[in-house]
Amino acid sequence: MLARLRREFDIADLVLYLIGLGLLIAIVYGSIVTLSSGKYTTAQWLNFIIFGLAQGGIYALIALGYTMVYGILGMINFAHGEFFMMGSFGAFFTTAALAEMGFLERNPILSILLMMVVAMTVSAAVAVLSERIAYRPLRRAPRLVPLITAIGVSYFLQYTARGLFGSSVKAFPNIPALSGAVQLGPIAIQRSQIAVFVVVALMLLSLYFIVQRTKVGRAIRSVAEDKDAAALMGVDVDRTIALTFLIGGIMAGAAGVMYGIVFRQASFWMGFVPGLKAFTAAVLGGIGNIAGAVLGGISLGVVESIGPSLFLDGLGIAAPHQLKDAIAFTVLVLILIFRPTGLLGERLSKRA
C-alpha cells in the first residue's frame, strides 16, 4: 500500500494537492467571515439559492445536449451553446411578433408554448444540420479533428446570427403573466423562475421517459454503449446519432426560451459563456451521464449564485460579482483535475 503510494506520487501531485488545499482553506475562511459578519439575511440567502436553482435548471437543459452527444460520439460538441443561442433568437422573434399582435397578453400560456415550439424547432434544426454537414463525415477522423470542426461550427453559427439578426442586444418584450413575484412565506419567488422550474421539470421527465422507456431511447443507449454491436443488432447508427442531436437541440431550444424569460435578452454572443458553463455542469455531474448533467447543472447554478457573496466577499475581494464566471471556470478546472469522472461519474473512457 505504502509502496504503491510512493510509486504513484510525484511532485506534480504534491503541487496539485497544495493548490487544492489552499483553495479549500480560502473558501472555508471566506465563508466563515461572511457568515459571522451577518451581512446577508436568511431571506437573501434563500433568494440567492432560488435564483441559482433557476439558472442551474437552464444549465442543466443545455448540459444534457453536451452529455448525450459525448456519451454517443465521445466528442465535445463545442457548438452546442450556439444551438441554444439560435433557439433564443427564435423565441425572441416569436415573442416580439406575438407582443405586437397583442396575443401575448391575451393568451400567455399559449404564447409561451408557441415560443417553446419555435425555439425548439430552430435549435433542433440547426443541431441536426450541423451534425449532417460538419460532424458526420468525420466519424473516423483523429480525435482533435471533430473538436476543431466544432469550434469552427461554433464561430460560423455565432457570426451567422450576427450577420442575420444584427449585432445589437435584443430585449425580450415584457410578458405580463410572468412578471412580478409570488410571496411564499418569508421569501418572494419571481413568477419567471417558477415557470423555469415547471418547464425544466417537464423537459427532464419527458427526456427520462424517452431515453428509458421508448425504442428510440433504447437505440440511443445501445449506440452509446457500442456502435458496431448496435449496428449489428439492426440499429441505424447514423439516424440514432442524428436523433441524439435532435433531442439535444430541443433541450437547448427550451433553455433558450427559459433564458429569454429570466434574463429577457438575446444576442449573438450569448451562447458562449452559458455553453461553457453547461459543459462544466456536464463534467461536474460526470459527462455521458444524463442524471449527472442535471445534478451538475443545478449545483453549478447554486454555487455560482451564492459563491461571490459567500466566500469571495468574506475574503475582502472588491466587486465579487464580477468574478461569478471565474468561480464557474475554477470549478471546471478543479473537477477536471481532481475528479474527472464527476459527481456521478461512471468509468471514464480512457481516450478522454
Binding site: 510525484d10 506534480a12 503541487v15 496539485l16 493548490i19 465535445i76 422573434f93 416580439a96 411578433a97 454537414i133 460538419a134 463525415p137 468525420l138 473516423r140 477522423a141 483523429p142 480525435r143 482533435l144 479533428v145 471533430p146 473538436l147 476543431i148 470542426t149 469550434i151 469552427g152 461550427v153 461554433s154 464561430y155 460560423f156 453559427l157 455565432q158 457570426y159 451567422t160 450576427r162 450577420g163 442575420l164 439578426f165 444584427g166 458562449f272 461553457l276 459543459f279 462544466t280 463534467v283 475581494i317 472588491a318 466587486a319 465579487p320 464580477q322 468574478l323 464566471d325 471565474a326 471556470f329 475554477t330 471546471l332 478546472v333 477536471l336 483535475i337 474527472p340 481516450r351 478522454a352
Partner: protein, 569 residues
C-alpha cells in the same frame, strides 16, 4: 463511401439548391451588400458580383465534372441546370424581399439587397428570369471550360484571381506602386478597363508558365548533389533575409503595421505549434500566456499604477523583456502541472477555462490597482538603444523579425531533436510513448512551457508596440485565431505557421471589407479545412500520410493523389 448510382439531373438540381442556399446565406449575412461597394473593375464589376457569379460558376463546374464521369452528354444540361437553380434560389430571395417585410428578423433583407441581386435595372419577375438565365449561361461557361486544356484553364483562373485581388487591394497597392502605374491601372474606384486586361494577361502568362515549370524545378532541386543542395538552400535563405530586411521600406507605414500584426501571430503560432503540432495537446487557453507576457511588460515599465511602483522599480523595455518572457514561462509551468494530468478533449476545455479565468481576473475591479482593470494600462515602455527609441511600426518590424527568427530557430531545432521526436511519439500514442520510457508529464510540461514562453515574448512585444493595452485584446478569439493559423497553415509545420498567419491575419487586414465577416469566414474555413484538407496548406509529409491513411485504406487511391502537390489557394 460514394454510391455508384449514376449522376442524374435531380442530383444536379440538388447541388444547385445547396449552392442557392449558400448564396442566400451570404446575402442575408450582409456580404453581398457590403461587397457591392467594392469595385473590382470600375463601373463594370463589383466584388458582390464576383462572389455570386463565382459561386454559381463553382457549382456548375463541380456538377459538370461529376456528370461527365457518367456520360458526357449529361454534362452540359446538368451544369446549366445546377447554376440556374443556384441563381433561381437567389432570385426567389429577391422576390420574397419585395413581397414580404423580412427586415424585422433579417437586418440585411433590404430592398437595396433585392436590387443588388437582380441584374442591371431589372426588377420583379423579369429580373428573376434574367438572373436564372444568367445562371444557366454561367453553367454553360463551366461546361465549355472542361474542353480547355488544364494548363490554359489554370492560367485563366490565375488571371481572374489576380484581377480580383488587384481590385480588392487597390487601397493597399496605390501607395506602393509608382504614380504612373497607378494612373494606368486604377480609377478612383476599381481597375480601369485596360488595367484589368493587362493584369489578366500578365498573370495568365505567369500561371501558365508556372504550371509548366513547377514540376521540372522541384525535381531538379532534388537531383542536385547534397553539397550543392545545401549551397542552394543557403543562397535562398540569404536572399530571403535580404528581402525581409528591406521589406518595411518597400511596404510603407500601413503595410508595416500589418506585417507587425502578422509577426505577432507568427511567433505565437510557432509557439502553439510546439504544443499542438508537436506534442498533440490542444491548448485553447493560449491567449493567457500572451496576456501574461504583455501584462508583465506593461506593469514593469509603465509610470502609472502607483501601488506597483512602490513595490517594484520602473524598468526599461530591455530590462523588463526577460521578466515578461520568464513570467510566461513560469505561468506555463504552473498552469501546466495541473493541466497536463488530463488528456485530449479535457485538456482543451481545461485550458480554455484557464484562459477565461485569467481574462476575468485581469478585467475585475479586485485587481485593478495592480493590473489596471477594464481601462488597461498606458505608457508601456518602448525599446531604446542609446538615443534611438523604436516607436513606429517600421522600426518595430526589425525587433519582431528578430523574435521570429529566434522562435523559428528554437522550434526547428527542437523539432529534429530527441525531445521533438519524443513529443511526436506522445502525439501519436501516449501509452506507447510511456512504454518507451518517455516521461509523459515532464515532456508535456516542456512543450507547454516552450509554447508559453513564445506567447509571452509575442505578448511583451505587442504591449510595447502598442504602448498601451486593454484587457479586450486578450479574449478567447486570440487563442482561436492562433489555432486557425496553425490549422490553415498545417499542423506541426513551421513554414505552415508563417503561411497561415499571412493568409488569416494579413489578408483580412488588407481586404478591409472582409474584416466584418472575418470570424464568419474563419468558422467556415475551419470546418471546410477539417472536412477536405485537414493537413493544411503547407503540411508536413507525415501528417498528410496520417490523415489520409484511413481514406487510402478504404478506397485504395493511387499514391499520387493531390495532397502532396503544392497547394494553390
Amino acid at each position: 463511401m460514394k454510391s455508384d448510382r449514376p449522376f442524374t439531373l435531380v442530383d444536379a438540381a440538388k447541388l444547385g439548391l445547396y449552392g442557392g442556399i449558400s448564396a442566400i446565406l451570404i446575402s442575408l449575412v450582409g456580404m453581398t451588400a457590403a461587397f457591392a461597394k467594392t469595385a473590382i473593375i470600375a463601373d463594370l464589376l463589383t466584388m458582390a458580383q464576383v462572389l455570386i457569379y463565382g459561386l454559381a460558376f463553382m457549382v456548375g463546374f463541380v456538377v459538370v465534372g461529376r456528370a461527365a464521369r457518367g456520360s458526357r452528354g449529361l454534362a452540359l444540361p446538368a451544369g446549366a441546370l445546377a447554376s440556374a437553380v443556384t441563381m433561381l434560389s437567389l432570385s426567389l430571395l429577391a422576390l420574397l424581399i419585395g413581397a414580404v417585410n423580412l427586415r424585422t428578423i433579417f437586418t440585411n433583407a433590404t430592398a437595396e439587397l433585392a436590387n443588388l441581386i437582380l441584374p442591371g435595372e431589372t426588377s420583379g419577375l423579369a429580373g428573376a428570369l434574367l438572373l436564372t438565365g444568367a445562371g444557366a449561361a454561367v453553367g454553360l461557361v463551366a461546361w465549355l471550360l472542361t474542353f480547355v486544356p488544364t494548363r490554359i484553364r489554370n492560367g485563366l483562373f490565375g488571371g481572374i484571381a489576380a484581377v480580383v485581388l488587384f481590385g480588392l487591394m487597390q487601397d493597399v497597392l496605390v501607395p506602393i506602386l509608382p504614380k504612373s502605374v497607378d494612373d494606368f491601372l486604377f480609377e478612383s474606384k476599381g481597375l480601369t478597363w485596360v488595367g484589368a486586361v493587362v493584369v489578366f494577361v500578365l498573370f495568365f502568362i505567369l500561371s501558365y508558365l508556372y504550371a509548366m515549370r513547377s514540376q521540372v524545378r522541384i525535381s531538379r532541386l532534388d537531383k542536385l548533389p547534397p553539397q550543392q543542395r545545401q549551397i542552394a538552400r543557403f543562397a535562398f535563405t540569404l536572399v530571403a533575409l535580404i528581402i525581409l530586411t528591406l521589406l518595411p521600406r518597400i511596404l510603407g507605414p500601413f503595410l508595416s503595421e500589418v506585417a507587425n500584426q502578422v509577426g505577432f501571430y507568427i511567433i505565437m503560432a510557432l509557439g502553439l505549434n510546439v504544443v499542438v503540432g508537436f506534442a498533440g495537446m490542444l491548448d485553447l487557453g493560449y491567449v493567457a500566456f500572451y496576456a501574461i507576457g504583455a501584462y508583465t511588460m506593461a506593469v514593469l515599465t509603465t509610470p502609472e499604477l502607483p501601488i506597483m511602483r512602490e513595490i517594484l522599480p520602473q524598468l526599461t523595455f530591455w530590462e523588463a523583456l526577460p521578466f515578461a518572457v520568464g513570467a510566461a514561462l513560469l505561468a506555463g509551468i504552473l498552469l501546466g502541472i495541473p493541466v497536463l494530468k488530463t488528456r485530449g478533449d479535457y485538456l482543451a476545455i481545461i485550458t480554455l477555462g484557464f484562459g477565461e479565468i485569467i481574462r476575468l481576473l485581469v478585467l475585475s475591479d479586485a485587481l485593478k490597482p495592480f493590473l489596471g482593470g477594464a481601462q488597461g494600462i498606458t505608457g508601456v515602455g518602448r525599446p531604446k538603444i542609446d538615443d534611438f527609441t523604436a516607436t513606429n511600426p517600421q522600426q518595430f518590424y526589425y525587433l519582431i523579425l528578430v523574435a521570429i527568427v529566434v522562435a523559428w530557430f528554437i522550434t526547428s531545432r527542437l523539432k529534429s531533436s530527441r525531445l521533438g521526436r519524443s513529443w511526436m511519439a506522445i502525439r501519436e500514442d501516449e501509452d506507447v510513448a510511456a512504454a518507451m520510457s518517455i516521461n509523459l508529464v515532464g515532456y508535456k510540461l516542456l512543450a507547454f512551457a516552450t509554447g508559453a514562453t513564445l506567447a509571452g515574448l509575442s505578448g511583451a512585444l505587442f504591449a510595447s508596440k502598442l504602448g498601451s493595452m486593454v484587457p479586450a485584446s486578450f479574449n478567447v478569439l486570440v487563442s482561436i485565431n492562433v489555432l486557425a493559423v496553425l490549422i490553415v497553415g498545417g499542423m506541426g509545420s513551421l513554414p505552415g505557421a508563417v503561411v497561415g498567419a499571412i493568409v488569416l491575419i494579413g489578408l483580412p487586414e488588407l481586404l478591409r471589407e472582409f474584416n466584418e465577416f472575418r470570424w464568419w469566414v474563419y468558422g467556415a474555413v475551419l470546418v471546410f479545412m477539417m472536412l477536405n484538407k485537414p493537413e493544411g496548406l503547407w503540411p508536413e509529409a507525415t501528417r498528410v500520410r496520417e490523415l489520409h491513411e484511413a481514406e487510402a485504406e478504404h478506397t485504395h487511391v493511387d499514391d499520387d493523389a493531390s495532397p502532396t502537390a503544392p497547394a494553390t489557394a
